[in-house]
Amino acid sequence: MRLVILEDYDQASEWAAKYICNRIIQFKPNQGRYFTLGLPTGSTPLGCYKKLIEYHKNGDLSFKYVKTFNMDEYVGLPRNHPESYHSYMWNNFFKHIDIDPNNAHILDGNAPDLQAECDAFEKKIEEAGGIDLFVGGIGPDGHIAFNEPGSSLSSRTRLKTLAMDTILANAKYFDGDLSKVPTMALTVGVGTVMDAREVMILITGAHKAFALYKAIEEGVNHMWTVSAFQQHPRTIFVCDEDATLELRVKTVKYFKDISP
């Protein structure tokens, strides 16, 4: 694993965006060879998306030959609801860049057959040649995507009921009204993300510090599903100083020292 520690949220966002940008440019995607990117939602990646948009507007980065696969989407929320992940991706990313709408894949939480929708999503990833770089976040309970504590570490895209921790964390987006927060979601599995050739996890803020500690300093455990990535050959954790607050000084020093 690589652990990249930046001073604050803005610097972490910029580092992550630059990394993604460079990966795409180095890949030299074209008509016959698309770069596939897995994408997260939530407050953590907002800064990263802003930077990517900036690079695009400067003419440095095009998404013309990029295919994207989002991690998750709420079940039962209308697609145009301001809190749906479709709305999030449109407003925070897609509407500012030049991605072909046919290449932007997000799970449909209103599909008539939810499991079929999940299976079709897995198939689309396979047909795209797998994911080159999956960008993700971490929940305060250590989950990746909506793989709540107790999710199988070899899980695939499926329907999940959300844990209370997650519902509480999401309430702020629904006027603080718990009854308005969706209770189910479609999500890629831990196994789905593990299949990606490279994984980058963004973790910022003191409220995520304990989850980061559990994810990288304790064992691989299905109660902290991000810990699965200890077994992935190519994972980078990008975080700010606050997110390292629960780590051992030794761990932090080691990774800071080896960082260029």
Binding site: K64, R79, N80, H86, S87, W90, N91, F94, K95, D98, D100, P101, N102, A104, I106
Partner: protein, 442 residues
Amino acid sequence: MPSNKSVSDAPIVQFTNCRILRGHRLQREDLWVREGKILNPEKLFFDEKGSADIQLDCKDSIIAPGFIDVQINGGFGVDFSLATDDFKSGIDLVSQKILSHGVTSFCPTLVTSPPSVYHQVRDFLPSHPQGDKGLRLVPRGERAKAGHVETGIVLPQISIRNGGSHGAGILGAHLEGPFISKEKKGAHPEHCLRTFEAGAFQDLLTTYGSLDCVRIVTLAPEMKRSSEVIQELTKRGICVSLGHSVANLSQAEEAVQHGATFITHLFNAMLPFHHRDPGIVGLLTSDKIPAGRRVFYGMISDGIHTNPAALRIAHRAHPKGLVLVTDAIAGMGLAPGRHTLGQQVVEIDGLNTYIAGTKTLSGSVATMDICVRHFQEATGCSVETALEAASLHPAQLLGIEHRKGTLNYDSDADFLMLNDGLYVQATYIAGKEVWRQDALGM
């Protein structure tokens, strides 16, 4: 980029690098247009997997809904209340010229006139819904008399039609009078004033002939049987406005309860506000307005018809009801001097217009964009508020805000590009550019 839009093949235009007025504020968003309507780009992206065919850089302009003028008596030498042989081309001229003022829809206004100006002669063909092609023919008998001020037919020559490169759209006529108060006639000719106390609505119908293309009627509510008339007009979807009246507040409130929703040029041609009887002005803060209804009021904000302090009082008392109108007369757009307004002669001096030889104000020569700028300066209100007073509010008054007066998805794409000083740079109707400021290229 390949676009396989499933709903329509019509080209999609994306206006970028602009600030659009939506949700009552200026937002940094792109404006998407297809087939003459504002398009929802998120729906386009996810449902149709579509994208823009043309992208236009608006160089940081403000994009606002097109202005709607519900009280305009003429302009550029054309007087809507005067019957002439080429009335049709007169209305076409005005509708074309006001595009440069940012007006994309209007209600040609007829001041108090003799019945012959209103009447529909029986031989007439009905109005063609597409307007332009449905030229109303003047029957031979009347044609012979054309040129005389008292005869000829005007009202039936006004037809509702969409705007376009030919000019701003016509929403219907605004009939200001003749059922108004003698004491508050302003510049209206006294010999043409009428009452409807004998036959109420029937009298009105007899005077006007047909109400087919009538959108607004201004009347004085203190007149006997006005309640019946107001009810009948409201039933027919015609907006009733109170004006040129000496009504007290109770009479005005009763009129509102019977359906009146507008006040014609607030403060002008009505009793002044009095603290024990606020008169029509009191409607702005009346507690007798039926639930769910709003009273709108027209304001001529040319700096002359209303003192800026009075404008501010009205705006602060009832900001959501303020509708900017020009009340422009034939002299608007012309050089200073003498011009006709209905049956009268007026004198123009700068932005001031008086009945010739008197100090009675008679309409204005300010253009709509001048009114918007003056309103913004005088009240210190936000740009959004100033723009909405000329677009959203008149649309709400006429009950057409689902398709005009906003930049909401699926609305008609009638909009303006303005600079920060609120000067109109370009005018669009149904998504097509119909006027552009020459000095600045894009």
